[in-house]
Point group: none
Chain length 221, copies 4
């Protein structure tokens, strides 16, 4: 119980290697077992099937990440709503929000997220870039969806809309893009930086880019 079983551990290591090199679909169960020095039967003692094996590598980290995001954004929603209420009547100006809290919090929490991504760097590499063919292949879209609700509220507030019903088709499209891009920033950091230190040193620019982008959109036309 204390030290995870030798064989299972070996299997997981070799699976990580195989999935990383070849991606989910091209990865071969037989290869993983050969590398681990056991028969395929042994693998199937520990894991239900290929999907389960992959899930053992990425499932845990993913769940924790989702919790992190959920927590992050429920806090922020509260913050944004606070601003909205205080300055109601005149409409929230960009300056209000930025000065107040919005992106400052974002940057702070982004650091937490990136830190966690790097704690499980290998797993997230797998999950985000090698999961095609597995049940996780749409995981990025799902995370984007999670974020989108939050960003919709933020956008409504910044535009000075009174309700979500004022959103045009164009508004919705750009919100989706910006949500998507926010996630891509994380993905980019975790796949292009060696370690969390390096990632943190790039984050300032990344956030500046994103915030600049938001300003550009909000003030457009």
């Amino acid at each position: 119980m204390e030290n995870e079983k030798e064989t299972k551990k070996k299997l997981l290591e070799c699976a990580m290697k195989e999935f990383s090199e070849k991606g989910y679909m091209k990865a071969s169960i037989r290869n993983i077992c050969k590398e681990a020095g056991v028969t395929t039967g042994a693998l199937y003692f520990f894991f239900k099937d290929k999907e389960d094996l992959f899930g053992n590598l990425v499932g845990g980290p993913l769940m924790k990440l989702e919790k992190l995001i959920d927590d992050h954004f429920s806090e922020e929603i509260v913050a944004t709503q606070k601003v909205t209420k205080e300055s109601s009547g005149k409409g929230v100006t960009v300056a209000d929000l930025a000065a107040a809290q919005g992106f400052e919090d974002d940057t702070e929490i982004a650091k937490v997220v990136v830190k966690y991504l790097f704690q499980e760097k290998e797993a997230f590499d797998l999950l985000l870039t090698k999961s095609q063919g597995s049940i996780y292949e749409t995981v990025v879209d799902k995370i984007v969806d999670k974020v989108e609700d939050h960003y919709t509220m933020m956008y409504v507030a910044m535009k000075g809309y009174k309700s979500k019903r004022e959103l045009t088709k164009e508004d919705k499209f750009i919100i989706h893009w910006m949500s998507h891009d926010q996630i891509d920033i994380f993905l980019h950091l975790v796949t292009h930086c060696k370690n969390v230190k390096e990632a943190e040193s790039q984050m300032s620019n990344m956030m500046a880019y994103m915030i600049g982008g938001w300003f550009g959109v909000i003030n457009n036309k």
Copy 2:
């Protein structure tokens, strides 16, 4: 040449359908042939192998796209360099560039690119989202690389650097990201819009986002 061989045409149509539905790896040669109503042997008369078949669908459009990008950016490079020289000494301000030419051109040419992407929408859908497992799986990265040189010069100019040698690691990193993101904008438009008209109506915001992002980065710290 005029009426492309019936069989080859049918085969290409069915291959397009199969690759689109299942992606390169999961697509089955046998299925394509069955759908086209010929034997696998027939397919191998026209195409060397699976890779070649895929290449016949996406290769042409890709080459033309690359040419488009090459032309676009070589022109722009000239333009940017012009600005740089004229205002040398004081450093180029963002206003200079924007007012002058940089992003105005960008927006103009982006429209051309997007228009072309939609002319061959199916092919680019395939190429950009269904090519995993084929030799084209890194095509996005390659296009990014193409764009990166151009953006590096632009960045150097905007930062007021005298040469590329002044670029820090952080500079290079954010340039890579912004290049990447520019391509992602195209990719996003082609995969999320039904037709070129819809794409064009979203482009204003997209470019505003990107330009805003650049401003944010250039003025950071």
Copy 3:
């Protein structure tokens, strides 16, 4: 087209042997191919899957048999009904039926059935005794069901019932048994006789047994 493809023929022969020796479930596709001197891929060119291979051996004969039975019993139904009408009022006596047509026809047609069973002896051996695990495993029950309707009418007539509604639970049970047993007679002949000649020489007793059984039941109590 004229002479069935060598390989397919060989494959069918070897499949027949393997299925006969081991039954459907224990039969090994690989064994069949090895015996036939081809790779498993070759088999899957000719047959969709194991079930299809088995179906190619027993499906045709089965369909013809079902047709034979359908024809047989629709004729007989007419005959029985004729008798019923002629002697209506007094109730049909056993003698009437036997003297008239009922079992004489049965015996005659039984010969036709048995003759056909022997024409495809191997296939029916497979179908009736080696199909467990395949979709044909309940084939005997289905044939029994087919026969049962016919025998129900015959039974009603012989008992002098005015309608099927007079049948008791006990009646229904014994009708099912006698239907079942009729089929078992065929099955027994085809599995215990070397050839049709031998089977025919046993049929007289078999039919005598069955007819005697019917008399026993009808006159019971």
Copy 4:
């Protein structure tokens, strides 16, 4: 001995369920153990192998049944032989036998057999309809063989033969069939009736059928 080991009992229950649902071959040892909440190793402590497990379910009942049949028919043999001797010279008439003892005893003892079959209904269901692939798959034939000797003597007596040597090939064939059918009657009752009461209410017709069949055969030609 009193309270059979909990685990073994559980294992036997689950095995009964699994074998009943899937038949011997498709039944999975792993499934049985999973259902019983133990590991496969535990099963192999109590049972040598799959065959042994199956044997533990059906072996006991089978032995008792065989004893029952042996006893039944050795008694009867004596009775039949008595009749033969008494009426020697004229040949035994069917009426003699029936009136005397033969089938009356049969019916009486058949009730005993059926009663026992129902006492161990589950086991006999398994044995008679789900044993394909196990060493018990030919158990019906073996029981038939047991019965056949007895019926041979009975047949000899009824035909008025002086010895078994007078039996023709046809005689032997129909004797085998009638022995087989007798067993099938039991099998049918145990697989088609819910309980012994229902079975007993059907037995009258079943025996009438069989006896009628015998008469038909004996008087044939």
